[in-house]
């Protein structure tokens, strides 16, 4: 039933888009899909509709569904006036892939069955590989190939993990999460541990955790801006979700410490790799991609610490998605205005197009966790989590890595925003409005947190 809701529009619209040959109609179809998606997300959130209960969707899934709904709506709006040199046929393929990509992402984030989650994650790989290779440069084809191949290996390993999870259940095995959790007492801990490692590596590849992150900077930097925004803001969360579910299973089977340790290791590795590369490279879209790796690391650390920090992980997921997608969309503006991807060659964005320049700077301030960004709260709560757990050296490393990343990103952001400008350019409103809305929503999230903190 649930899958019917998610898939009905893409399946009906795909043939229509294939037949129609006008590019604005394709963009409009994607926009309508995104609008419906957003409405569904809101309907799931409102308790009065009772939809979430009847479809057995828990709070985590609902939140991630709503985030991807908001992002998809912003991207749909941004794409309305997108100027591309695609032929009508290519444009229709783009629209179809976009809808299938989002629909399979939703399937993965709403499903309670690990087998189905796995199938949907596999489908997202195919659809998004098409989207990444769309510009048909040598680079974008290379990026898509790496993405497809590395993620396929990851997906295959995750499948091994799922098979081992079945072995771990001696009586009436099931992949349905509720069943696994209710049978958690009888799980064989040896196989559960091995299965967890495989699933962590498998879905971790898709979530872009270091050391399995090699595809991510290529894919996110070569894809068109709207696709990068969705990949970074929505797909990474979807891939992270099965890991959080498995952590829940591990916690119930009294293996939570092992899960936390592995999460901490991968989280710090991701932050470290991101910090090193952010200091070194000059391509600003790649910088943003590395920043996504960093944030995925922070989220894993948050869930490893659990308790209050675990709630901070959820805040971080929301904040990162909203801000990073706004950042990627603005990077699309920058690329359109300046035409270069190396930040040393860019400059004067504030003079060239003030709105984009300010969006760029604000997104930068928010992503490094300056208040009123929600990331400020989540990073602070994670620091409290470290103190509470007594990991003081880890806390120091955490702050050093955060500062290094802030410095590296700041160099790029300020370099692009300031400097002498040559003339002034005009961009359509739909290229600025979505980012504004996303950043405003991020601020709203942090005020919501603040009001919850008041005694």
């Amino acid at each position: 039933m649930l899958y019917l809701y998610i898939w009905i529009f893409p399946l009906l619209a795909a043939p229509l888009v294939w037949v129609l040959r006008s590019k604005p109609m394709h963009n409009l179809t994607v926009f309508i899909h995104s609008l419906l998606h957003l409405l569904a997300g809101i309907a799931f959130m409102l308790p009065s509709t009772g939809m979430a209960e009847s479809l057995n969707i828990d709070a985590l899934s609902r939140t991630i569904f709503l985030i991807s709904g908001v992002l998809y709506f912003a991207v749909g709006l941004y794409s309305l006036r997108l100027k591309t040199e695609l032929t009508p046929r290519q444009s229709s393929i783009y629209a179809i892939c976009m809808m299938l990509f989002v629909a399979s992402m939703d399937g993965a984030s709403l499903s309670r069955d690990l087998g189905l989650i796995w199938v949907f994650v596999e489908t997202t790989t195919l659809a998004s590989a098409m989207l990444i290779s769309f510009e048909k440069h040598k680079q974008s084809i290379e990026a898509a190939w790496k993405y497809l191949f590395i993620c396929s290996i990851g997906i295959a390993l995750a499948f091994v993990g799922i098979l081992l999870l079945i072995i771990a259940q001696p009586h009436s095995p099931s992949l349905f999460l509720d069943r696994i959790i209710s049978n958690a007492g009888s799980l064989n801990s040896f196989w559960l541990k091995i299965s967890f490692v495989f699933i962590l590596i498998g879905f971790g590849t898709k979530a872009g955790l270091a050391p399995m992150h090699f595809w991510l900077p290529d894919a996110h930097s070569e894809a068109p801006a709207p696709v990068s925004a969705l990949l970074s803001g929505a797909l990474l969360n979807t891939a992270l979700l099965p890991l959080l579910r498995m952590q829940q299973v591990m916690n119930i089977s009294h293996l939570g410490t092992l899960a936390s340790q592995l999460f901490l290791i991968l989280g710090f590795a991701s932050m470290f790799i991101a910090a090193v590369f952010i200091m070194k490279i000059t391509n600003y879209k790649r910088l943003l991609a590395y920043s996504s790796i960093e944030n995925m690391g922070i989220i894993l650390i948050a869930f490893a610490l659990g308790d209050l920090a675990g709630k901070a992980g959820l805040i971080h997921i929301m904040g990162h998605s909203l801000i990073k997608s706004a950042f990627f969309l603005t990077a699309g503006n920058v690329y359109y205005l300046v035409g270069k991807k190396d930040y040393n060659a860019c400059g004067g964005l504030l003079g060239l197009h003030p709105a984009s320049g300010w969006l760029w700077l604000i997104a930068f301030m928010f992503i490094i966790g300056m208040p009123p960004s929600p990331l400020f709260f989540s990073e602070l709560f994670i620091a409290f989590g470290f103190i509470k757990a007594g990991y003081i050296p880890a806390l120091i490393v955490y702050f050093i890595l955060l500062s290094a990343i802030a410095y590296g990103l700041g160099r790029a952001a300020l370099g692009i925003a300031t400097g002498p400008a040559t003339g002034r350019k005009h961009l359509p409103l739909s290229w600025i409005l979505p980012q504004m809305a996303l950043l405003a929503l991020a601020v709203a999230v942090s005020f919501l947190i603040r009001s919850r903190l008041q005694p």
């Binding site: 195919l126 990026a143 497809l148 396929s152």
Partner: protein, 211 residues
């Protein structure tokens, strides 16, 4: 009967580590596909008829015919008559395969005591095939060899899912969808495009994007 087939499957993994010719790896893949087809018929009496026909057909069509044929075709068209070009020697590769086997059987036997539903021979060979596939991917440079490594890994996964299929039949058809992913991956999308954009299908060529 099933045991003999499993042993032949294991021997084919050893053969894959000593050969240098791409075409002989393609032949090994055909052999593995046929073995998997036979095992599907022997082992999956729990599937209902429709599922059984789907899985059996998929194994014979994709694993034994379509994908190996496609790979042989690509080798011929590209004129890649050269060898596999591994970064490690045959001797080391054979030695590591032996170590992988030892590890696979060790895990299977050691943990098999606690779980009655694990048949060590089956599990050990499946696990070794998965690791062997990963090893081939890591140790070689050519994209086409990477694909072959992925295929061997996937054969191992299919073997593993057959071992579990008696308890959860639908997992076998799920494993099959991995094959379909792979076929789309290689056949339609990429090799052709990469061949047009890059002079040779070598992973060293794929280095315009780096930090």
């Amino acid at each position: 009967m099933a045991d003999i087939l499993l042993v032949i499957f294991g021997v084919s993994l050893l053969a894959a580590s000593i050969t240098n010719m791409l075409s002989s790896i393609a032949r090994i893949l055909i052999l593995q596909g046929l073995i998997l087809f036979a095992l599907t018929i022997l082992k999956t009496n729990e599937l209902n008829t429709l599922e059984f026909i789907f899985v059996a057909l998929e194994t014979i069509v994709f694993k034994a015919v379509l994908i190996p044929w496609f790979i042989t075709d690509t080798i011929r068209k590209n004129g890649i008559t050269r060898e596999v070009e591994p970064s490690v020697s045959n001797f080391f590769s054979l030695g590591s395969m032996t170590a992988i086997f030892a590890f696979g059987f060790f895990i299977a036997l050691w943990s098999g005591k606690s779980s009655p539903n694990i048949y060590p021979l089956h599990f050990g060979i499946a696990f070794s095939a998965i690791l062997k596939g990963l090893f081939i991917i890591i140790a070689n440079k050519k994209l086409i060899t990477h694909l072959m490594g992925y295929l061997i890994m996937e054969n191992g996964i299919f073997l593993l899912s057959l071992a579990i299929g008696s308890e959860m039949p639908y997992i076998v058809s799920l494993g099959v969808s991995l094959d379909i992913l792979l076929s789309i991956l290689i056949a339609v999308l990429f090799i052709n495009k990469i061949r047009n954009s890059f002079e040779d299908v070598d992973s060293d060529e794929l280095s315009t994007l780096k930090d």
